[in-house]
């Protein structure tokens, strides 16, 4: 079974926000909730770099470790999903997540946040695959259709890679060999451990 991973190649990302727009449209994510975003460091200065960030679907996911109602689960393909019917919107996962992935539909006083929402690797949730209930709560389920996440599919420079971790790593390894530089697999140590 493939272990799904994301990798954003900061040498290629041009901050075009195609990934963000693709995600929003594919999953019908409401205004103010950002499953994926592009972060730019040293904007306007020499050495400027951009990177596209979403839930990395960690091995040993910290969000799952802190969840008081145990609403997270990891699929056979290594995708970290959660059950919105169980989620109480407490926000613990947001504090635990090293990538700032969990999102909440409301930002009101006294911690009323609504059910947490995050990237599903375009693979829905616990409801029946591609059912209306699944779509309404979690967005699309492209994995069930044999397709990869739309953010990476739409990436104009192929900076953002999504898919079987071994294949993603191979593609990246070939790129760095050609470039002759030091690999910078941003976020991989944190998400998947230091031995990958």
């Amino acid at each position: 079974m493939a272990r799904m991973k994301f990798l954003c190649d900061a040498e290629r990302c041009i901050e075009c926000n195609s990934c963000v727009t693709a995600c929003k449209n594919e999953n019908e994510v409401p205004w103010g909730v950002n499953r994926r975003r592009v972060v730019t460091l040293q904007d306007g200065e020499p050495g400027e770099k951009s990177i596209s960030v979403a839930c990395m679907h960690c091995t040993d996911a910290p969000c799952a470790a802190v969840c008081p109602v145990d609403c997270f689960y990891t699929t056979e393909e290594g995708v970290v999903l959660h059950d919105k019917d169980q989620c109480i919107g407490c926000g613990y996962c947001f504090y635990a997540c090293p990538f700032g992935a969990p999102q909440y539909p409301q930002q009101e006083a006294f911690g009323v946040r609504g059910k947490m929402d995050k990237c599903t690797f375009c693979s829905g949730g616990p409801e029946e695959d591609n059912s209306l209930a699944e779509h309404e709560k979690y967005g699309s389920n492209r994995l069930a259709e044999g397709k990869l996440p739309l953010c990476a599919e739409m990436c104009s420079t192929k900076a953002l890679l999504a898919g079987d971790g071994d294949i993603v790593a191979d593609i990246y390894r070939q790129r760095t060999l050609r470039r002759g530089g030091r690999p910078q697999t941003w976020g991989w140590d944190k998400a998947y451990g230091s031995d990958v």
Partner: protein, 507 residues
């Protein structure tokens, strides 16, 4: 009547300029904006005034656009809803010169109509529909798109827009998988040998099956396979210098030197006249490669490896331009007064596209004391043109919610401005815009940048209530061009959007 008309950049002067000074009988009294963003043009404050002085203003667009809301007219404004590209079908041309056939995705929404239907209805009303559409089938007021393209094919010999018939383009659309994504060439299948989208020049008739020209002026290929020479567009000689190519020709050319544009007489001199069919001879007699409607002259030239438009040298001296080779001229609104004497602009012109056009008389004034910052403008990745469609798209609008000005930290500190503060950007012609400050090193000290995609605010006033109900974009903002200033290209009258001056103060 025969002088070139007002360009879109100057229509406001067609309204506002004294009648005595314009090279036509009267001022402009009506404007039809068809798929146009007025906020992409400079001098927005004067444009508002011009819009108010018109007798009639018509907007044809999927969105109301700023044309509908930036003025204070109470009557004589017509919004004609045009449908989008998804609600019709036909060919589209891209900037790589290739054409692509597309299908209709949904029927036109609400009362919107495709552009060509609106155009037909206008023609019918004005009474020249019989003439305009005599070669085009019309079904229920909708001209048949295939016939429109066939009519283009019949007439556009000069740029080789003749071989791209609807049938060939549909073949390409239906056989994407047969095209090599690197070379763009079909490998086998019904379009074998064609380049995707038949990039023009696609010479001759569709039946000739020219493959299109994916790279211009590539002499390493035969013309019949997409190769090309430089066009002999400006005669064969100037000031005693030969303008035709010397020692250069496209691969397989039977004339191994420069040659002029092909004519019937030239075919006869070369002994190639009898390569024409009898019908082609009748059509080609006395004609040249761009007036022979049979395409025979083009066909025979290409058969002998030649480019129909001749083989000349590339030209870098444009003797018809005010500056035959570009030289630096300081902008009209410059902060570098020390450069004006050495690099002056042009003298004012009495009539340029029917209008007096000012250069030197503006540059003579020193605005740099009161307006010390260089103001330039440009695009954002999220928005397109005037931004009306894209600011109405929630996924894109969310990414850029505020009109802003990029300002260097040093200039911001000098003015007591913090990141995210509202500021006034004051232009040297007296207008101003209220926008958010983005403090960033993207711009040098002394330079500020604004994006031009916003509209809906005018000099501090939110005009959202002027939109027809439900038609207002998610995001509104000041148009950068409200404060961008006078200045027009000496050849094309393209507006100066890149180089002006301003002063910024906290709002």
């Amino acid at each position: 009547m025969n002088t070139a008309g007002f360009p879109v950049s100057r229509w406001i002067d067609g309204v506002l300029e004294d009648k005595e000074n314009i090279a036509q009988r009267d001022n402009l009294r009506a404007m039809v904006f068809w798929g146009h963003a007025p906020n992409s043009q400079t001098r927005g404050a004067e444009m508002k005034k011009a819009m108010e002085e018109l007798e009639l203003l018509v907007v044809v667009d999927p969105y109301p656009t700023a044309s509908a809301i930036m003025h204070d007219r109470t009557d004589g404004v017509y919004l004609l809803p045009a449908c989008t590209q998804f609600e019709t079908y036909g060919s589209v041309t891209a900037s790589n010169r290739s054409l692509q056939w597309r299908d209709k995705v949904i029927d036109p929404l609400f009362e919107s109509l495709p552009d060509h239907t609106i155009m037909y209805k206008f023609a019918k009303k004005f009474g020249y529909d019989q003439e305009m559409f005599k070669n085009i089938q019309v079904n229920d007021d909708e001209p048949l798109i295939e016939d429109i393209l066939r009519e283009l094919n019949k007439g556009m010999w000069t740029i080789g827009y003749t071989g791209q018939s609807p049938e060939r383009l549909k073949d390409h659309q239906q056989n994407w998988h047969t095209f090599n994504t690197t070379t763009l060439k079909a490998e086998g299948g019904p379009a074998d040998g064609d380049f995707y989208g038949l990039p023009w020049p696609c010479w001759g008739t569709p039946e000739m099956r020219h493959p299109g020209t994916p790279v211009l002026y590539n002499t390493s290929r035969p013309v019949a396979e997409g190769g090309l020479t430089f066009r002999a567009r400006f005669g064969v000689e100037r000031d005693g210098v030969n303008l035709l190519a010397e020692g250069s020709w496209s691969k397989g050319s039977e004339i191994e030197d420069g040659y002029p544009e092909f004519t019937a007489d030239m075919l006869k001199q070369l002994g190639w006249w009898d390569d024409l069919t009898e019908d082609e001879k009748v059509a080609a007699e006395g004609k040249n490669w761009k007036t022979d409607l049979s395409g025979g002259i083009q066909r025979v030239a290409i058969k002998h490896g030649c480019a129909p438009f001749g083989n000349a040298k590339a030209r870098s001296v444009v003797w018809t331009f005010p500056d035959p080779v570009p030289i630096h001229r300081e902008p009209l609104y410059t902060s570098r007064r020390d450069l004006v004497e050495k690099y002056p602009t042009y003298e004012d012109r009495k009539s340029h596209y029917r209008l007096p056009t000012r250069y030197g008389s503006i540059q003579a004034n020193d605005f740099s004391k009161d307006y010390p910052l260089i103001h330039t403008s440009g695009r954002l990745v999220e928005y397109e043109g005037g931004g009306e469609e894209t600011r109405s798209n929630p996924w894109l609008a969310e990414l850029q919610q505020d009109m802003f000005v990029e300002i260097n930290p040093a200039d911001a500190n000098d003015r007591g401005i913090k990141d995210g503060d509202m500021v006034w950007v004051n232009g040297p012609e007296g207008s101003r815009i209220k926008v958010k400050a983005m403090i960033t090193r993207r711009v040098e000290r002394g330079v500020v940048f604004t994006p031009f995609h916003f509209a809906g605010h005018m000099q501090g006033e939110d005009r959202r209530s002027k939109y027809p109900e439900g038609a207002d974009p998610y995001v509104l903002g000041e148009a950068a061009n409200t404060v961008l200033t006078y200045g027009y290209d000496s050849v094309t009258q393209m507006q100066e959007t890149k180089c002006s001056l301003c002063q910024i103060e906290p709002a």
